[in-house]
């Protein structure tokens, strides 16, 4: 095992260190040919890529670097039964057959390792520091939490990686976002991310790869770091990453695909060099104070349209960008400028997704609903990110808490985050959702999404309206 030695004489950012060590070839006035260590594949963005390989008469070059799971298009109930939707069943079958034909490990429905691709990657140690990881899914940025370069790709690029383990990419610019200070009560990693996106807008980091630095991220759990990196794409960034530390190494140690024995020691030596050098230069650097961040909620139709939960929906004239686009967005939501979000009635709650479908998210949700009851008119879909998360929910007694409060747990998958399966929010209904996108129709045609943290989602689930979770927490402490 021979990791490439880095040029020790030049200051580099974390991003540069990982990127540069994976460049097979630099094309003048063109992209870099970037070697991909690990490739995650799911049923929706892969079939056409496999078809491309078939048409060229070639095989997957490195099946041992490729991992397949079914998640986007799977039911979250009765997974032991045949999938009813014909097209969905067909897509799942295609992935199973393609995986078999190319000797790729396939964790389909019912497999104990099945789950959302960005949840199971870290769980199984596929995600390691310093690696390049891609998947035909924009939230691949999640894996950057471990100090990996991870980003979403299109199907043509999936085909490139399957056939050559490389991708052709122009090198993004570097941005560092620092958040220092202490987070206030009920402010979770989701709120930190939604706050940053609200400051940068949905295109503010386009063209950049972001490194998150500062006290807040250092103190954050690995689950929290994954939530933050996951949402990097929502401000346009290709990906986000956090320098690996003892917490990172602790998390991955002993997982199935992480190095063992001597290999672990060698890897650790390399991983410990993965940080931005003190005088490394970023193309853009931004800093925020943790104390300025409140529990967040979105009011519009992109993730940049978020605000502190106690604030009022901005007036059109105060907003950057087009007034017509802004008004169209509020019209879709049936909200008015200047209104408060607090107290608005809601119909659905969705806890889950690659953003907030991990054990820590279920713990947070349970901490609010414990000893309370689900509001009668609220439909709640609680969907663990994987079978491992599901098992932890049961082991930790969280399932009992959920059931006592009138909630039920569904089976793992992407579910209502993108509503490809049957979990669709009906037209006109409001859903407080822990997922990542509040685009028009994202959670079902006509559905209206309010993005928030698991704490805010839990508060809405028990009160039936947008509620500041701090109120319920105060009661609990009183």
């Amino acid at each position: 095992m021979a990791y490439q030695l880095l040029n020790a004489t030049m200051s580099k950012t974390l991003f540069d260190k990982v990127w540069d060590s994976h460049v097979v070839q630099h094309i003048e006035n063109g992209p870099d040919v970037l070697f991909i260590d690990r490739h995650l594949v799911h049923e929706v963005t892969s079939p056409v890529a496999f078809l491309g390989l078939k048409n060229r008469g070639i095989k997957v070059l490195y099946p041992e670097r490729t991992f397949a799971t079914a998640d986007h298009n799977t039911p979250t109930r009765n997974q032991h039964l045949p999938v009813k939707d014909k097209l969905s069943a067909n897509q799942l079958k295609a992935l199973e057959e393609n995986s078999k034909a190319h000797n790729i490990p396939y964790w389909g429905l019912g497999h104990k390792k099945n789950g959302i691709v960005h949840v199971i990657g870290p769980e199984n140690g596929i995600t390691v520091p310093g690696a390049t990881i891609v998947c035909g899914d924009s939230h691949t940025s999640t894996h950057g939490a471990f100090g990996a370069i991870a980003f979403g790709i299109g199907t043509s690029e999936v085909e490139m990686v399957l056939s050559t383990q490389c991708i052709m990419q122009p090198k993004p610019k570097r941005m560092r976002i620092n958040v220092d200070g202490a987070l206030s009560k009920a402010v979770t990693p989701k709120d930190v991310a939604l706050f940053i996106i609200s400051q940068l807008t949905t295109s503010g980091a386009t063209g950049y790869f972001v490194e998150y630095a500062g006290e807040v991220f250092r103190n954050m759990s690995m689950e929290g770091r994954m939530t933050v990196c996951n949402l990097s794409i929502e401000m346009g960034a290709r990906g986000g990453m956090i320098a690996p530390d003892d917490k990172t190494f602790e998390y991955i140690k002993g997982r199935e695909y992480t190095p063992k024995g001597q290999d672990w020691d060698t890897a650790m030596e390399y991983w410990k060099t993965l940080y931005s050098d003190e005088d490394a230069v970023f193309d853009k650097e931004l800093s925020f104070n943790a104390s300025d961040i409140e529990p967040m909620i979105t009011y519009g139709t992109n993730p940049g349209m978020g605000m502190g939960i106690q604030k009022y929906i901005p007036l059109a004239e105060a907003v950057e960008g087009g007034v017509a686009t802004y008004k169209k967005s509020l019209e879709y939501m049936d909200f008015n400028e200047g209104e408060a979000m607090i107290g608005k009635p809601i119909d659905f709650v969705f806890l889950g997704s690659c953003t907030n479908g991990r054990i820590e998210d279920f713990r947070a949700f349970a901490s609010i609903i414990k000893g309370r009851k689900k509001a009668d008119h609220v439909t709640a879909w609680l969907v663990p990110g994987s079978h491992q998360v599901e098992a932890a929910i049961k082991e930790e007694g969280i399932l009992d808490v959920l059931q006592e409060a009138g909630f039920e747990l569904r089976e793992p998958g992407c579910s209502a985050c993108l509503a490809m399966n049957d979990d669709k929010i009906p037209a006109g209904k409001y859903a407080v959702s822990t997922s990542n996108r509040n685009f028009e129709g994202r959670q079902g045609p006509g559905a209206r999404t309010l993005l928030a943290s698991p704490l805010v989602a839990a508060a809405a689930a028990v009160t039936g309206k947008v509620t500041d979770p701090r109120e319920l927490m105060e009661e609990a402490f009183a």
């Binding site: 095992m1 990791y3 063109g30 929706v44 990419q169 949905t202 295109s203 686009t325 045609p445």
Partner: protein, 198 residues
């Protein structure tokens, strides 16, 4: 797969002066269930284009017969959100060969370049000029000249140059694709893989 060559495209254009058009609008997730790349154009902008009973929404630009052409002109931050290449496929399958905007999301831009749809990024001022020109005359033609990297509003003669990296430009001009390139350097890749631990 190799795609159509792109050289000079002269066409009227369809205006969509909306910002942050995300790929969930371009093609909603429920239409991503195919295992082959065909028919996506029918569902391009599905929920903006059709009512829930599948009748066309009169006021949506694609349903307005006065607008047509192979060029789609969108507002700032076009193609944000999901990485689904199906969005670029839908744009292509509908008949567009070029998308013009003042700003593109990264993944959508790459996806377009990989399937032979040319993303042309212009200044916000020039974008406004295009919208104004189309508003006053829906038959206004644009000329997108890839060899010269120039876009012109033919009626007024106003033009602006645009960027594209040299490698991608050659690919577009010749209908080459990245996989052919990568397969040709397979030996280098395999050598690289050997010294790169799993």
């Amino acid at each position: 797969m190799a795609y159509d060559k792109f050289n000079i495209l002269k066409s009227s254009a369809v205006p969509m002066p909306i910002e942050n058009v995300d790929t969930d609008q371009i093609i909603p997730a429920r239409f991503l269930k195919a295992t082959e790349r065909k028919g996506f154009g029918d569902n391009l902008f599905r929920d903006w284009r059709y009512n829930s009973d599948d009748t066309p929404k009169e006021h949506f630009v694609l349903n307005n017969p006065i607008y047509s052409g192979k060029i789609l002109v969108g507002g700032k931050n076009f193609g944000s959100g999901s990485s689904r290449e199906h969005a670029a496929w839908a744009v292509y399958d509908y008949g567009f060969r070029c998308v013009v905007s003042s700003f593109f999301a990264d993944i959508f831009r790459n996806n377009c370049l990989n399937i032979g749809v040319l993303p042309v990024q212009v200044s916000p001022e020039f974008l406004d000029k295009i919208f104004t020109a189309i508003e006053s005359n829906p038959n206004t033609e644009l000329e997108v000249n890839l060899p010269e990297q120039k876009i012109t509003i033919l009626e007024t003669g106003e033009s602006e140059s645009f960027d594209i990296n040299g490698y991608k430009k050659q690919n577009m001009l010749n209908g080459f694709d990245d996989i052919d390139y990568l397969l040709n350097i397979k030996n280098d890749i395999e050598e690289f893989a050997e010294k790169t631990p799993l």
